[in-house]
Symmetry: C2
Subunit: 134 residues, 2 copies
Amino acid sequence: MRVSLRTEYGLRAMIALARDFDDIVSIKELARREAIPGTFLEQIMADLRRAGLLESTRGAQGGYRLKNPPSRITIGEVVETLEGSLSPARCGSDCERQDGCSTRSVLDRIERSITETLDGINLEDLVVEGATHE
Amino acid sequence: MRVSLRTEYGLRAMIALARDFDDIVSIKELARREAIPGTFLEQIMADLRRAGLLESTRGAQGGYRLKNPPSRITIGEVVETLEGSLSPARCGSDCERQDGCSTRSVLDRIERSITETLDGINLEDLVVEGATHE
DNA sequence: GCAAACCCGACTAATTTAGTAAGGAATGGA
DNA sequence: TCCATTCCTTACTAAATTAGTCGGGTTTGC
């Protein structure tokens, strides 16, 4: 259960955009600032845009910016977009004790707890926390 | 960031042992009850024993049981044993802004939050919650 | 002694991760 | 109008991880 590098990159890019909320920043510039491979970041940003967390401007002088203010975007949204569900192989239709299945409730409980935790932290929190970094 | 099947198996086995806290249960029996491949479970149990969460008895009529009462074992311990750290590639010695590195603090904060959450749930909680399963 | 059970390391197939590569489409400015 | 810039999309690949299997060894109760 580790956070993938892909998600780390996505979080860092989102936090960088949160720091300059008013500007449009290109992938090239973001990749340079955060030392992330450009073509990889391109894919990540596309996913975040499709998920409705970013908006893009195409063409020259184009780039990305947050679709909502930093305080309105949680890291839960970012992580869920880039990682998908927490659960492993799901208890499917072949599970004979579907209703009260204890396995299901254990994983669900863990998933709910973690989701709640991550939804409780927004980008603004992280910008403030990491403000001293340069 | 998904919980591996390996960890799910480990959690289920630990919960099963928590239900019969007084008995010694063999891997064969545990594997049957929880429908987990026996030789795979064997490896998982060995890891949990090495981590100090289980104790084993060798030879005929041997098996495993929890080293401590269910209320004293958290799922954080189980998950950490079986999954290892949450973090991806760590911010190593080549990171030029080691001290105030914002990346580091972001991942650390996420990791701390999740760890706290998982350490707040013990095996007894889960036994009670899943008690209706059969 | 022998069967039941844990113990241990090596091996493998399938999947996921972390990218790279190549080209297409939109757009601002000269 | 042209063209450099920038986003957009799909396809591919090497390395790592996951989910096991396999074959043997050791311990112990009966």
